[in-house]
């Protein structure tokens, strides 16, 4: 699979990741990694944050849509 963004610019770099929201193939340059904290448990116990955050790969458009950046 090729990177969608590079293809738009006439390039042809290999995709190394896929956006978890839209499924776009992404090269290292266009892939955005957003680590998300995971909390488990709740009433009647305090929630616990799982030690390792959950990695999420997003394309620039989905990242902007979700996080407004």
């Amino acid at each position: 699979m090729k990177c969608y963004y590079c293809a738009l610019q006439g390039g042809e770099s290999e995709a190394v990741a896929i956006c978890i929201v839209c499924g776009m193939g992404l090269c290292m340059e266009h892939a955005i990694r957003k680590d998300v904290d995971v909390w488990e448990g709740g009433y009647p116990f305090p929630s616990k944050r799982v030690k390792a955050p959950l990695p999420r790969i997003l394309c620039p458009e989905c990242y902007a849509a979700l996080y407004g950046k």
Binding site: W39, G41, G42, Y43, P44, P46, K48, R49
Partner: protein, 247 residues
């Protein structure tokens, strides 16, 4: 990793404050509303003069809604026990660390005391003189041991609901606050005119301390009822639920 013990203790204090300010406050306000009416029987101290068990339903709902709100607001922070009997029952069944039990109970007592004192200041002297700050006491004909048993049975049901609706991983998520709040409302409606339906040592501690400090009634001799009964009921319910739901 959970939030710090300090923050969790503050959450417990705030949750118990809400419980006592609104719940016990509702009982005090009911007594103030009924002040001057003639009780139809000596079993009636004022609560019940306005609408029979409807008065207790109203008080129960004030408690239940305050508890449900606290659980949804603070349940993820501290667990929102807001009741030493619940904390002790979870500890007794190995679900809650022993080192956190003391700070949680202290925080609950501080929150309850603050609620009663603030309620007295905000409402005025009648809150103590007539409303008694919503303090609990056995009603006419209910003996010391009977009161302990009634408090134990009431807290048994409360803890059973907590176990089934919240602690059990198979429980439907999101409903625990509502279920626990409604259970408390029902228990108070049924047993309010027997013992005051405390179900919670902290809930009784706040009004007792406030009444004592502000020249109201001295009810400390009755406090063991509201310590022994709730703790026995909660611990029994937790162990019974584990037995019933185990393989």
């Amino acid at each position: 990793m959970t939030v710090s013990l300090g923050k969790r203790s503050i959450a417990e204090a705030v949750g118990t404050f809400i419980l006592v300010f609104f719940g016990a406050g509702a009982a005090a306000v009911t007594l103030m509303l009924a002040s001057g009416t003639t009780p139809s029987t000596p079993f009636n101290i004022g609560i019940g003069a306005l609408g029979g068990l409807g008065d207790w339903l109203a008080i129960g709902l004030a408690f239940g809604i305050a508890i449900a709100g606290s659980i949804y607001a603070l349940g993820r922070v501290s667990g929102c026990h807001i009741n030493p009997a619940v904390t002790i029952a979870l500890f007794a069944t190995g679900r809650f660390p022993g080192r956190d039990v003391g700070p949680y109970i202290v925080a609950q007592l501080v929150g309850a005391a603050a609620a009663s004192l603030l309620f007295a200041w905000a409402v005025g002297p009648d809150a103590v003189a007539i409303g008694g700050l919503g303090a609990t006491a056995p009603f006419l004909g209910i003996g010391y041991l009977q009161a302990i048993v009634i408090e134990a049975v009431g807290t048994f049901l409360l803890m059973l609901v907590i176990m089934g609706a919240a602690v059990d991983e198979r429980a439907t998520p999101g409903f625990a606050g509502l279920a626990v709040g409604l259970a408390v409302a029902g228990i108070i409606t049924a047993t309010g005119n027997l013992t005051g339906a405390s179900l919670n040592p902290a809930r009784t501690f706040g009004p007792y301390l406030g009444d004592w400090l502000l020249a109201g009634q001295n009810l400390w001799a009755l406090f063991p009822i509201y310590i022994i009964g709730p703790i026995i009921g909660a611990v029994l319910a937790a162990f019974l639920y584990d037995y019933l739901s185990g393989d």
